[in-house]
Amino acid sequence: MERAGLLRFWDSSVGKKVVMGATGLILVAFVILHMAGNLQFFSGSERFNAYSHLLQVDLIELTWLMRITLLGAVVLHITAAYQLTMRNRAARPAGYVKREPQVSTYAARTMRWGGVYLLLFIPYHILHFTTGTLHPAFVRRAAYGNVVIGFQVMWVALFYLGAMAFLGLHLYHGAWAMFRTLGIARPSNDPLHRRLALAIAIIVPAGFSLLPLSVMLGFMH
């Protein structure tokens, strides 16, 4: 049965993908801001804890608004991703014996696995640094110390670095694809070429990774 209005939009493959692109845009904007904010770690404990205080106390209403927006975006993003993936699988019940991908990138082909890794990473990350539930020595509002102690656990730091590798791949495809999905990409003679997405895919994970790396290598303590 064909539904009407917004529901029909959601039912269509184009509509669902547009929802993915729009929520992806929100998430990309968020990771850029989050990464930039995190770099204050290198200004030392006073500055970083003040930043944490700003978000957790002074601007807590704004923080909640952002949390709710992000949660909504992630839920819609994953729901659309899952449903489209199922449709796409069903669209080719019998595969090829011989198939040579011509131009698709490694990033495009790992969107689903990368997404699953990030899906495991996000709750872990919140339980680790926000609620402290999974942190060995969590102190409320002492963000700097929490990060240092958190990343002194080797496997935790490695898990974070793995997530950043997948984030980079996800962004290399996603931060390019979203503009095309939303129909706002300019026509191009080489549509597969991406500059902005490449910059985002390098700068964002690299910026995030500086924190666990600097702690692991003993620069920050």
Partner: protein
């Protein structure tokens, strides 16, 4: 030259298929790929075997009938070239060549390499008509059309509906085909009155036909023998978003004119 072929043989839509090996000797490098299959079929007939069924018509790259997967690439290794325009000189003596039909739920195999592409016809039908005067041709310059729009429409109209985009897409998506058809009319003034309706109807039909969705792998654009750009897909999405946002319920017709 000599080549070894691994060809998908399937007696009917419901029969199970399998790859069958053939040795094709004495092949001239100047033969087209389809001529090579013709020669092989002649030999099969002489031996009393069932010839390999494949679709073809114009053999000059314009009808879109001749699609097949050749060595894992739609229409074979040459860019911007249909299978009928591919020549054996693109291969080397002794090569092994895998030949398979397009694979998609929406393109069921009829026999061997022949698939039913009726789903494409139904997407076109869903697009409906354009309110342009036909019959008496109007004055050539009566409707001004920007050069860029004319060029873009012409580029999109180059689509021959062969199905290579679906075959090459890891999601078996018909987005490039549908987008080409939507943009070719949508770029032109004559296509404006039904532009929004067309985008909604064609996308809906594309979904009904069980094609997958677009994840922008880019494989379709690479496989397309007519060089249709994935820019058309951005255009389709743009039209679809506008159409969905501006669509209104049918109004009652009141009074008389």
């Amino acid at each position: 030259m000599k080549v070894v072929l691994h060809v998908w043989r399937q007696a009917s839509a419901s029969a199970a298929g399998k790859l069958v090996d053939y040795q094709a000797d004495d092949i001239s490098p100047d033969m087209s790929f389809l001529e090579m299959l013709d020669v092989l079929n002649e030999r099969l007939i002489v031996r009393g075997e069932d010839p390999i069924a494949f679709d073809h018509d114009c053999r000059e790259g314009i009808c879109g009938s001749c699609g097949m997967m050749i060595n894992g690439a739609a229409h074979g290794p040459m860019k911007l070239t249909t299978a009928c325009q591919l020549h054996m000189r693109s291969f080397s003596d002794g090569d092994e060549i895998w030949i398979e039909p397009w694979r998609a739920k929406a393109f069921p195999v009829i026999k061997d390499l022949v698939v039913d592409r009726g789903a494409f016809d139904r997407i076109i039908q869903a697009g409906g008509f354009v309110s342009a005067p036909t019959g008496s041709a109007q004055d050539g310059n009566a409707i001004p059309i920007p050069k860029q729009a004319a060029d873009d429409a012409m580029d999109a109209a180059a689509c021959i509906g062969c199905g290579a985009c679906v075959a090459a897409c890891p999601n078996a998506s018909a987005s490039l085909f549908t987008a080409a058809k939507i943009s070719h009319l949508g770029e032109l003034p004559q296509g404006q009155p039904e532009r929004m309706k067309r985008a909604l109807a064609m996308v809906h039909q594309m979904d009904l036909e069980t094609f997958g969705g677009c994840t922008l792998f880019g494989e379709c654009q690479e496989a397309c023998p007519k060089g249709i750009s994935i820019d058309t897909i951005a255009q389709m999405n743009r039209d679809y978003i506008f159409a969905a946002a501006t669509e209104r319920e049918a109004t009652d017709v009141l009074g008389s004119g």
